[in-house]
Symmetry: C2
Subunit: 777 residues, 2 copies
Amino acid sequence: METTIRYPKDDPWRISEATFDPRFLGKYETIFALGNGYLGARAATEERYVGEKRDTFIAGTFDRFDRDEVTELPNIPDVFAVTVILDGQQLDLNQGEVSEYDRTLNVKTGELTRSFLWTYAGKQYRFQSSRFVSFKQRHVLAERISITPVAANANIRLTAGIDGQMTNNGTQHFNDDVKRLYPGQVLQLSAKTDQSEIYFVLTSEHRFSTEGVTMGKTKTEMLRRQLMSTYTADIEAGHPFVFTNITNVYTSRDIDVIYKDRSSLQAQGLETAEALKPFSYETLQKESAQAWADKIWDAMPITIDADESRDALAINFARYHLAVMTPAHDPRMNIGAKGLSGEGYKGHTFWDTEIFMLPYYIFTYPEVAKKLETYRFLSLGGARRKASDNGYHGAQYPWESAWIDDGESTPVWGATDIVTGKATKIWSGFIEQHITADVAYGINEYIQATGDQEFAETMGHEVILDTARFWASRLDWNEDKRQYEILDVIGPDEYKEHANNNAFTNHMAKWNMQLGLDLIKKLRDTAPAEYTRLDDRLNLDQLEQEVSEKIDKLYLPEPNANDVIPQDDDYLSKKLIDLAPYTVNGKVGSLFDHFNLDQVDQMQVTKQADVILLLFLFEKHFSKDVKLKNWEYYEPKTTHDSSLSLLTHTIFAADLGDKKMAYDFYQRARDIDMGPNMSSSDEGIHAASIGGIWSMTVFGFGGVRYLDGNLRIVPNLPDAWHELSFQIWWHQQKLAITETHDALKIKNLTGTADIQLDSVGGSYTVSGHDELVIKLA
Amino acid sequence: METTIRYPKDDPWRISEATFDPRFLGKYETIFALGNGYLGARAATEERYVGEKRDTFIAGTFDRFDRDEVTELPNIPDVFAVTVILDGQQLDLNQGEVSEYDRTLNVKTGELTRSFLWTYAGKQYRFQSSRFVSFKQRHVLAERISITPVAANANIRLTAGIDGQMTNNGTQHFNDDVKRLYPGQVLQLSAKTDQSEIYFVLTSEHRFSTEGVTMGKTKTEMLRRQLMSTYTADIEAGHPFVFTNITNVYTSRDIDVIYKDRSSLQAQGLETAEALKPFSYETLQKESAQAWADKIWDAMPITIDADESRDALAINFARYHLAVMTPAHDPRMNIGAKGLSGEGYKGHTFWDTEIFMLPYYIFTYPEVAKKLETYRFLSLGGARRKASDNGYHGAQYPWESAWIDDGESTPVWGATDIVTGKATKIWSGFIEQHITADVAYGINEYIQATGDQEFAETMGHEVILDTARFWASRLDWNEDKRQYEILDVIGPDEYKEHANNNAFTNHMAKWNMQLGLDLIKKLRDTAPAEYTRLDDRLNLDQLEQEVSEKIDKLYLPEPNANDVIPQDDDYLSKKLIDLAPYTVNGKVGSLFDHFNLDQVDQMQVTKQADVILLLFLFEKHFSKDVKLKNWEYYEPKTTHDSSLSLLTHTIFAADLGDKKMAYDFYQRARDIDMGPNMSSSDEGIHAASIGGIWSMTVFGFGGVRYLDGNLRIVPNLPDAWHELSFQIWWHQQKLAITETHDALKIKNLTGTADIQLDSVGGSYTVSGHDELVIKLA
């Protein structure tokens, strides 16, 4: 596989682009993306290239282009691009000669640096740039570009500014609003989204070095949606021309901004620019790096001692990107399926949050997990509207979720059907209904793991109850079989678009209904005040009666004579097909070049973990033998065409005790974004897969699990790992855990409560600040 | 001056780009633009580059992005761009080596061709492309690309399709509508403008050569606003891989389409694609070239025998672009200030039509001139609304005009004010009021030159009368001087933004009022039926009374003691400034880098012909001495910062008998687009200047003039010209005129009426088919 990616030896914090290749712009724009959960910026190069995707997003600022499109995160004006003309020639790495090229993301400091030597027409120029999005001051981003003519004086012409001609693949969300140039080269551009009417104000201060540099003419132009300044200078040989751009961004949706009208935002932007003037790029970068250490690396350390430093890099890379993509500051927002690093999935939130990312937050930053699930509570209005629009009761969560009020945000039309020539209808927004149970699952996990009663009482319980109500209203009665069924759904395996009794969906629905029933009973018995309050709002008697009546009559697909759980009513009778001809590098990629979805629907082919995911989430409900038999049946039929698939298979293989297979799957999953495949990340980072790097590490190899409120830790370290050390929060106690092949050590760093857990050899209690050591070998 | 433009020797039909230079994309995109008056396409290269402006427009399909922006011609989906990957390397002329490069526009056939040899990684590929927009079938455009691996077999991967991710500098006008792939690689994409709700349907058929080519996998993708097919093939050494793309476009605004709903347009597109299938690229190109000959070159030939073939090329180049930019098929549209070749001025129509382009059409294609002025009649509604909105009566024409119903379409905000840092307000839409008289002037010229009574009676007279009414209501009474004045206007010299009694405006206004008065009298005396009909509509008695009362009291700036006509009340008392420091290559370019508009307003500096234009349009009203004195006064103060300036100065200098100066000005004006300046045409062609090439030729050097209904021909050939031969229509007779330094020959090719004209030595009559020869030397 042709690749330009490099992993500096023995360095678990850096990832590099070793040579510039214009074919691979998208890869690095995504994996080198910067951000702080509020603001995310793809790492487009300073100079522009055909095919670049120069995206910057601010979480939660959704806008809809027209009524036929769904809402999406708009690509805001860019401040990173520059045009550099050196001695009359525009800097373009496709021309001249490039040597000593390096671009490196340091995930520890959140800084992206780039350097190279450019030779053109016999003259050499040393280029160095660095940039970051502040992790300390969320509205601030900065860029510094240094250009040194090596041996002869040079003339430079540099154009930089605020460029609102950006689009989302041709979709323009902003009006052409006010631009203004202030003394001291402070540029300010305002823009307003068209439909959602959110104001954005970007303010940039441009600074220049003076030693060996003679500045010439400056010209500022106000073009359409653009405010650009062009600077000229003569540079003495050996002296760097240094351009620094300190930018701040505010929007009328910001939770930390009080006055949200345009002129207040403009004043705020100017004020911030003024306040930043005394601080150098280095100072601001250091302060940001310190925030990374304080909030992430030192606060909740995870270390992996392994044969290859790439595994340790993977967990750091994953945690970096989780911090970059997660709007931890604002419960009205959630994580997009591509984070803030690309236009894929339009910034929308899926079940990925609850099933694949929430575990990291529950165990590492429970206060962030709380915000992510508060978002679901705040979205109840849209969920209730969706249920009602579809003729159901309670709360039916949208498959794709954007702003809390938006409700269902899944687009209706997708890729070409190669047989009919028409666009394919996307059914997920209509019938991929397991999301509603997934939300309840996530909320329950959060409550169980944290014991956060305040959240449960004010938000979580209401979601659990009204999702249970949805399922009760959703069931289809089968008069012949005298049972309830769930017909015409899409399960996690999206190749099967109109499945009946999808095992995952039915099991999750029943579990959700049972959770509601149990909660009603528990509240009536133990929390009469809350019971009364919720009964007033939600009519719990009626709910209990309806759910009770139906729950036992709901059909659940159970293991058949061969111990295989049928994925749905028809799957096991469909055509068997050999996937080998469609497999390249161990990945099925070309199936849809040969078949359309209707044809794939008729085959025993699965996109991603479906029954396997069910067995993972409800591991206690199924025997090891059933797990093994289903693994043997479904894994060879799975294309892993979704980035959500491999991580579950990794953990499942680890649970089954197959360390080699688990590590093989881990490596494939780890490499979805970070690996050498240069084309897989163009649309943005795979958020769930990034969350999965933590899950594979802590759940899969670390063997941590929380089941029905109980903590279990049974290490499964692969042979290539020598020690895994991490910290987790459990019931408001912070635990430090170290695992080797020989021993498991657990210490309660908080030490204010006893911790019960299951592990090899039985149940244990960790008391106070004691360290518990369990021998494994 | 660094340039890559070439004029093939002794060839008055071709203009070439000699080497590829990515700095000059915009120049060639504009001057090589293709079109047929319905559809115009900038000549972006087949492969994409940073900085390209890939525009395609359809005349009259205006859309407004939001209520704060003015309406503009939307950039429709592109069909010319391809991505070509040869043996794994993307074709990009910034990489590898390029030799034998040539791109040539043949203005005679309307075909653009390009060829080069590309060497990459030791392999050579011969690239040839050609394209045209059909001049025969206005909905059709075609492109052919041929790639031949010179010495070794090669693999190609070519992506082409319909790309609706185009924007107007970031402004998206279209929704993401239906895409569809039909058998035989017929691609169809529909799109609808957001505000004006105009449907566009583009249908492309892709064809491939088969000899020496083994086609591989084809993949069609429906992306956002995109329908793209990727083709792969193995090519034998020495064999061309030929890709042909035959596209047709329809819109719901098309005058020749009856059923304008989306599905009818889609059916029409498919039907046209089907009908075009039997025809090769060559056949369609030949048919288009024949239409160019039939409608332009053979129908109304103009030849120049000069020292340099570049002067003959200039008139052909100008007539080519006039045909490309003029929507001669539809009177609901007019010519944009940048034609259909760029986003500059948003496709809007200015006074340029009447003053600088209409003369060509009146004398060469009077039926087109009629459509251009019919547009003004159809726009009366908006003009009356504008008058009423401003508190005036009658019809006040918009400074910038778009769709006939739109009314005033001038944007309100322009470039940065370098002193305040704010955007500059554009006052033209409010107070550049001479446009209303300019429209009346054009209509009167058309009627005088053609004698088209049907147009006069049904349309022209109404415009003349209601513009006269506007002026009567517009005048400002000066009680001190007991006279009417016109205060607070912008004249042609747009440096003076709030001028009082601008000479051009006052003279034009008075002339317009007098024209109305004369018309009322004439109608009453000679056309009682029309008089009654118009009186019923427009209350002619009241109009006559009001205009009569005011017209004699309107102050007209007359020559002062030095024979200088004051440009306005204050001009002659403003500061004198030496323009030399701001002059580069004979052109004042950098004035606004040093002063803002308020400062320039205080100087005796003029942007473009203002008093000089007045003297040209009303040459009979002023003595030769006055003309000379004003020339000597104003010319040195004129920056010619508008492309509308030099051409008037050329004709004026020719009239004054200064052949050398006239030819110098001519060369500068001729070269505004066609010349070696690589940056002047980025925003699109200078339509008025292009019209001026004909005016300088036929009016300036040919000495043709029509004054108060009389034809005059007094040749002024420059020394470098040996013979000028052209044809004109005059009073429905087609005249063939040949001029040398010795003689003027006139023959009436129609010969159905006698023609009176003035020339050297007195008045002449041309009878029947006789040739009149007048000796000059």
